[in-house]
Subunit: 238 residues, 2 copies
């Protein structure tokens, strides 16, 4: 496997990782895009074992080196396939265009894993950003249909890439909405979200209610334009 490890030894990691995630390997596919890089960065800072995957393994290695330098921690850079095979929890953070193809190609590597789909099916037109109607209902449901041996959870759809990557923002004040059908998996992903300071993972329904969480990002983009902000969501009364 083409994997390059940067930084300190794994033993010297922070002890702030919740018990449910102890020993769990987190792979971020599409980890060289802004959202993937930002999530990987936060998980590295939290003390998790992280591999950053990319279609272009060299770019992944380069960015892993960069994150390792920034954080002083170990980061693995690899191809998407190698990162998927390595990880216990595998995040998909790729453009919608490449979603179905990538999921199909990696079905063997992803079997038996928790797959966290972070993809928002959106189109950007002259009039603004709007959701794409997905035949299967949502990116999450499409991935689950193509990955019958994986447990697919939707999460991290609405968190700002800008804030995730911004070293002046130690905290990101937002909730991460987690959708999925398997309680053990959604609980774990809620814990994963909670490793980012300021973030709370909130259960937000089953897979068949993933669509509107993915699509809601179009509204956040409208709000960002109107209010010159990096809008996020907090759920009240819970």
């Amino acid at each position: 496997m083409n994997m390059t490890i940067f930084g300190e030894s794994l033993d010297a990691r922070s002890a702030t990782v919740p018990e449910s995630l102890a020993g769990k390997r987190i792979a971020v596919l599409g980890g060289t895009g802004p959202q993937g890089r930002g999530l990987a960065r936060r998980f590295v800072i939290a003390g998790l074992e992280v591999a950053l995957g990319s279609r272009d393994a060299d770019r992944a290695v380069e960015m892993a080196s960069e994150l390792s330098t920034e954080t002083g921690r170990t980061v693995i850079g690899a191809s998407n396939a190698a990162a998927a095979g390595w990880g216990d929890v595998v995040l998909l953070v790729v453009p919608w265009d490449g979603h179905a193809r990538m999921v199909k190609e990696l079905s063997v590597e992803l079997a038996g894993k928790i797959v966290v789909d972070c993809v928002n099916p959106l189109s950007f037109g002259k009039h603004g950003c709007s959701p794409i109607l997905v035949e299967e209902g949502s990116a999450v449901e499409q991935a689950q249909m193509l990955l019958p041996d994986s447990v697919v959870v939707g999460a991290f759809n609405t968190i700002s890439a800008v804030l995730l990557n911004d070293p002046t923002h130690e905290r990101v004040e937002t909730d991460v909405l987690v959708v999925g059908d398997v309680r053990e998996a959604t609980d774990l992903v809620q814990d994963l979200a909670g490793t980012i300071p300021g973030v709370r993972g909130v259960y937000a329904g089953k897979q068949f209610n993933a669509h509107q969480v993915e699509a809601f990002t179009a509204n956040l983009i409208s709000m960002n334009r109107r209010y010159k902000a990096h809008a996020g969501i907090r759920v009240t009364d819970i």
Copy 2:
């Protein structure tokens, strides 16, 4: 017109109404359901001129009397048609089943008005609550197509009816997401939302992004079940 007015004279109202809403008549159609009643109740408390409409004018009159007794303020009870004709800003708070028919029937009364569509196209099955796919895209877009001479704005989709009606909750800590194509109208509806203590009206996109706001209520219902709460939304960083 079959209208019955209860309570004090209009002159004695509170002066806390924002300037944009001064002299504006607020009609709540479907005002005898929990959501409609709760919104009407809050607008009455805020000092707005409010008519409560219902298919059954007698029920509207009865509930207007009840709200007037609770609040010590004037409340009008009327048929939906009479309330629609009276109002400057008309809220639709009816079940999805009756949405298209009602909008068609009242197109004359609603012409030239700001119509605030609060309807969530949802179906409740054994497996839980899920969004209904609307041919026009959303309730808001359906209403706009049927009401070419009105300005349709979506709002109040995600605010808890229970909290709106609860006298022990003076404040409702949530944002109201407002979608629409006409800035003057969305601004006004944001102001209307802001008359409820704790509530902030937030612009959340154009009509073509109304669907996911309407559909998101299905997720809030899932959260309410999981967390035994009356979940709402706050937008962060704005």
